[in-house]
Symmetry: none
Subunit: 217 residues, 4 copies
DNA sequence: CATGAATGAGACTTCATTCAT
DNA sequence: TATGAATGAAGTCTCATTCAT
């Protein structure tokens, strides 16, 4: 909490050479993410990734053993970013239902502001089962909290989770396809909350509550 | 026979030779659909399609000009099947909200009973924007009817549509991944109806109403 | 016996298409053998094989699943040729010792006359353990016969076999490297027979006995 | 130090820094030899050599100009070791025939005790013509001595040499492949001596004569 | 029309070699 | 000198597409 950003991998000594190495690796993954915004996972050639990252084709193999490992790393990176983003939302908000509302809205807002990112997310989530369950894990806590608070009254946890994630992703896809509407984030959040058993009034109120500080993410 | 007939759809008169031609074409598409159940669209080799359809690889090019045309044809075929399936549900049901409940439930039930089909649907819908709007069209009518009946009270049509489709597909994906639960169809339908603005009581009732006759689809 | 050349693989119906297929396959293997004469097994690129066989690179994969399978097929083909060659020698010769003498001499003579072939043989035998034992099998019979006849008196069969094969191959390598001498075949055969326990006189006589008819092989 | 010293062998005065240099170079060659025990020459990657020698890949190029130079150096190193080994055998033995018997046996025994070494030898000898003639040189003296002594009576020197080397290597390969038998060394030596013209009795006696002191090599 | 052999572009991957640190 | 990241040529393999039969 005092010192932020301790990367969650590599407990190796952060010697000098490691910095460049990490930068290149990051560059590769970022390049891949940018490409995922435009093409299906399976259609991306590593040569394109290399080109996008401005390295030679062989360089990729200094960091990943195979194409699959690249894809996996991209999934992991996005999932990590996800967790951080979600964690950010929760800071200082103690209601599960509200955290859900905030999360849904912020993901949709970000999708509207950064359709490339959203496109990549939609594709990776479709492609990568591991990422789906990773997301589920993060959401689960809030869902349960919302129920404990008596705001949400869904019957089956797994289904509620599915619905929450599916709808948010669906809205993100809408954004990607340029079909976002005014107050899209609030409207979707409200509907989801109602689906999860919140009363109409409460759903509306939760969905329209002011968002916390920085529109980071 | 007299005039070289290169119609790109099938408005041709069903002369004698055309029967077999159509059968082979259909066989190819069905084979492709079966493969979509297991692999991502981009990962399917035409050679596999040919093998699955029990024809030689070259034969495909007597029916399609290119790989893309095959994929497109598969999308069209599935969309057509969809239309029919959805139309079937509506037969003899005059409430929009009920038609929605029935539609959601039957798609989920079918996904549970036929995960291969569901898998193909999920993939094609993800892949093919045209299919998404085609589905939307079919649902739209019911959605409006539901609103006119006063049962549904959603604010924004496009978003409601998105949610309805996203959630149903999400549930189908659950089925594909073996995560379906008891009464999955009813539970999801109920939540969707609530999201669309139905009262909790009504949503529950609609979702648990007996399904019409043959579980064809 | 009445009808010669029944290929030992593919009991498939010898339809028309199969002929061409078999011809291409043969062409590929022959091309590979020609290259083995010049380069080490591991240094041969399939592209070179394709070029030598005058087909496109991809064609190879219509016949072999991988590079290793190509190499294996070459080994098998050479081993088959070997067996036939050795069998030819034995025709009409009823003494094991004499058959050995004939075999050794003919292999050396062929090596002298066709150094490319010999070079390929030396390399493949070095590379391919399977081929070594295959050769051993063919020789074993003659060795035993020679012992039963009382001409050979070696103590340990496996070692005798080893020596026989090693020396013949060594002489073939000499031929490849242009170090063959006058009466090379007889001299080597004589020494081998002595090593195997034949008396000096008998070894000499056996080694210098006239060779049977056609210098085929 | 004053004059840039780029001698390509090692005639340089053993100044201080040169000790370590030579050690590293030696380490690289030894590493390569160890790898030759397991893989064909052409299949060894310099990266593996570097790893085996526990240096970075780039370091190799401080000692060798190219991959080929590494391979060549390995050949030279093994040949040198050979020379020494063979020389050791001859110490204090004044009969050529006996020196041959001893040499053959010790090489086979070492192959049995150190199959990795034998494997490397077999491969390098197969690969490197220079090594073959180097070996030949060492053996030649003994062969001639054996003839002068009246024990060996071969007709053609080069062929005798070939046979001697081929058979010994063949036996070493047997050892590598785990096919060595009891008294392998004696049996092979005996057969070789007979091939070279020794009488059966003498061959046996020579082959079974006690070996000199240290089984170094 | 059906077949399947042939094609060749393009993807993945390895590895000898260079070079900045 | 040692290091190891970066490079890019070259090799293996796949697959959409063509075409003679």
């Amino acid at each position: 909490m005092s010192r932020a950003n301790t990367s969650n991998l590599e407990p190796a000594p952060p010697s000098r050479g490691h910095k460049k190495r990490e930068r290149t690796r990051r560059g590769l993954i970022d390049a891949a993410v940018r490409l995922f915004a435009r093409k299906e996972v399976g259609e991306i050639a590593l040569l394109d990734v290399a080109h996008e990252a401005e390295v030679a084709s062989g360089t990729i193999y200094n960091y990943f053993r195979s194409r699959d490992e690249v894809v996996e790393a991209v999934g992991l990176a996005m999932a990590d970013e996800f967790s951080e983003a979600i964690a950010q939302h929760s800071v200082g908000v103690d209601s599960g239902a509200r955290r859900i509302a905030i999360g849904v809205r912020m993901f949709i807002l970000r999708a509207i502001n950064d359709p490339d990112w959203a496109s990549a997310v939609v594709r990776v989530v479709h492609f990568d089962q591991a990422m789906r369950s990773k997301i589920a894990n993060y959401v689960l806590t809030d869902l349960r909290a919302g129920k404990d608070e008596g705001v949400l009254t869904y019957e089956h946890e797994a289904i509620a989770l599915d619905l929450l994630v599916s709808c948010t992703l669906g809205a993100m896809r809408s954004a990607v396809e340029g079909r976002s509407v005014d107050e899209h984030d609030m409207l979707v959040a409200e509907m989801i909350l109602k689906a999860l058993g919140a009363t109409a009034t409460r759903a509306r109120k939760l969905a329209r509550h002011e968002l916390p500080g920085q529109p980071t993410l």
